[in-house]
Symmetry: C2
Subunit: 340 residues, 2 copies
């Protein structure tokens, strides 16, 4: 076992697209677990688009990461020392302890994971925050009905892949939008969506007109930018726009204009934003529904795993540029016998 | 009784702000009531902002008025001849029979009005479509809570005046926005809103910051344009935007850009459009609630009545420019003994 910690710190707030120079990777002493605390060795770190908001200085729904602080993030790990009677050495746990190899944190901030339930990494993806995000967006806002047309942007991504598959299960016709032919093939062949449009392959509006001839009833918005501009005018009367994220605009220095909202009146649209952090009370409900589907192969997922904490900044930047393919995870632990 | 009809026809589709030359006023033969029909002499014609949409060629929720057709509109009138046993001569009725002095229409398209219930003209305003619009916007979408801040644009208008007063009754703090000092005085002194901001009197954003120091929880949007630009960024987390109309933009040839929707994610906003035409099933519920308030003086209203069908086009243009003060009505009947 490594006898020291390693951490990724926020060095400065990026202007526009982050660069690796905005981060600093440092060695640090192995933390000590105090009374009621647990020392956890990380196995997987989750990288997610929302983190771009946390390193910006703009007002948002959560406090930003301070300059010089450890980058915020969720990790699956293994308990190596416990001073909380609820946890024992060797327990697998899930918690939000940041971009670092080890953390000593209060046991009450951790959830125990059963590796028999589903692979540990899924607690960060299909059965974790991204999966729950897709679930609450569809069930609270989108409510797709049989026969309706649902469009999901970033359809091969961690949230989009679950959103698309759950929308299919509701009986809707589901069209994905993704960047590149490989992702589109995956969305159609593996995830089983009815079609997938490559937004890099030409006129997205014309493709939507061809593939969604009856318009769009529900739009699960992960992307913003040109994709939003193409989908918004194609929303049908009584359409729902699930405002989950707009990753294509997260590095904008000035916000772009949005759509004219008179369409919301004319078409009686519902445009609803949500934050999964308000919805953790539905976590058990979601896992109870989704874990059997994952185990049985009915809810598919794909992980894009990069090796080692030191590549986390570059991998995160790639995520903001759409270069990952599937749920982006960093493997923190180089012992292949642990928690795979 | 006049022995011929007079009608306002749509002559051509306006480009931008309509002019009186876009309309044509013609005499026409007095119509004959067929079997099951009723001949109605109009008393009041309602002029409303939605009519701008009906004379545009753009796709909307309702069919446009055809070139050469009678302008669409709701009227309160008196039955002068009935071939429907449900109606007798002298009955007062309400229906959508357009900008004309007389109409022969099926009785099933009419509602009978009791002049003892409330003044006849209120069926076109506070107890009619505008009042119902305010009611369903607040009850379905805004749902203001005690202690919240509600902002209502066009607060002295037919919809806004009811919206502001109903929001006050919910226990919210209610701030109106109106154009000009007279209207603002009326909104504060007569309607009893907590404050009213004159959007013509300088920096609207700064005024909102001063008068709504805790931000805006519910925005009843009637106006669009610069008013929307000022209110939208001041919406609080979990804010609701009742998208009722955007009259300041109805004459735009190209739609203006709207707000960047990432705010909807960050703040978990609900931006909902609605059309009162989908909500007529709540008409009885609304009148049952509101008519006693109107009779008792607890729900105030103001009418801006212009005389004679021939001035309807100019009055309608004034409405689009915010020149009316209260619910705009055209008196069609020059006999002062009838239905006042």
């Amino acid at each position: 076992m490594a006898n020291q910690n390693r951490q990724v710190l926020l060095k400065r707030r990026p202007a526009g697209m982050p660069t690796t120079a905005d981060f600093e990777i440092v060695d640090a002493p192995l933390p000590e677990a105090g009374e009621g605390e647990v020392l956890v060795r990380g196995i997987y770190l989750s990288l997610d688009p929302y983190m771009r908001g946390r390193i910006s200085g703009a007002r948002s729904y959560a406090k930003p990461v301070a300059i010089g602080a450890v980058m915020e993030g969720r990790v699956v790990g293994e308990v190596v020392k416990s001073r909380d009677p609820a946890f024992g050495e060797g327990d697998y746990v899930f918690g939000g302890y940041g971009w670092q190899l080890f953390s000593a944190i209060p046991g009450k901030g951790l959830l125990k994971l059963d590796p028999e339930d589903a692979p540990l990494s899924t607690a960060l993806g299909v059965l974790g925050m991204p999966g729950l995000t897709a679930y609450v967006g569809l069930s609270n806002i989108g409510q797709p009905q049989s026969g309706e047309t649902v469009v999901v942007s970033a359809a091969s991504g961690a949230v989009g892949a679950v959103a698309g598959q759950l929308a299919k299960r509701s009986g809707a016709r589901v069209v994905g939008i993704a960047g590149g032919a490989d992702k589109c093939r995956y969305v159609e062949a593996e995830l089983g969506l009815d079609a997938c449009i490559d937004h890099r392959a030409g006129d997205l509006g014309a493709a939507l007109d061809r593939i969604c001839p009856n318009g769009v009833d529900v739009y699960f918005e992960n992307v913003g930018g040109a994709v939003q501009q193409a989908v918004f005018p194609r929303l049908n009367d009584f359409g729902r726009m699930i405002m989950c994220g707009m990753v294509a605009e997260y590095n904008d220095v000035e916000p772009r204009p949005g759509p004219n909202l008179m369409a919301a009146v004319r078409k009686r649209l519902k445009i609803h934003g949500f934050i999964v952090g308000d919805q953790w009370h539905r976590w058990d409900e979601y896992r109870t529904m989704a874990a059997p589907l994952v185990r049985g192969g009915a809810l598919k997922y794909r992980e894009d795993i990069v090796e080692g904490l030191d590549v986390a900044p570059a991998a995160f930047i790639g995520l903001l540029q759409g270069r990952n393919f599937g749920k982006l995870l960093v493997r923190l632990d180089d012992d292949p016998t642990r928690g795979r």
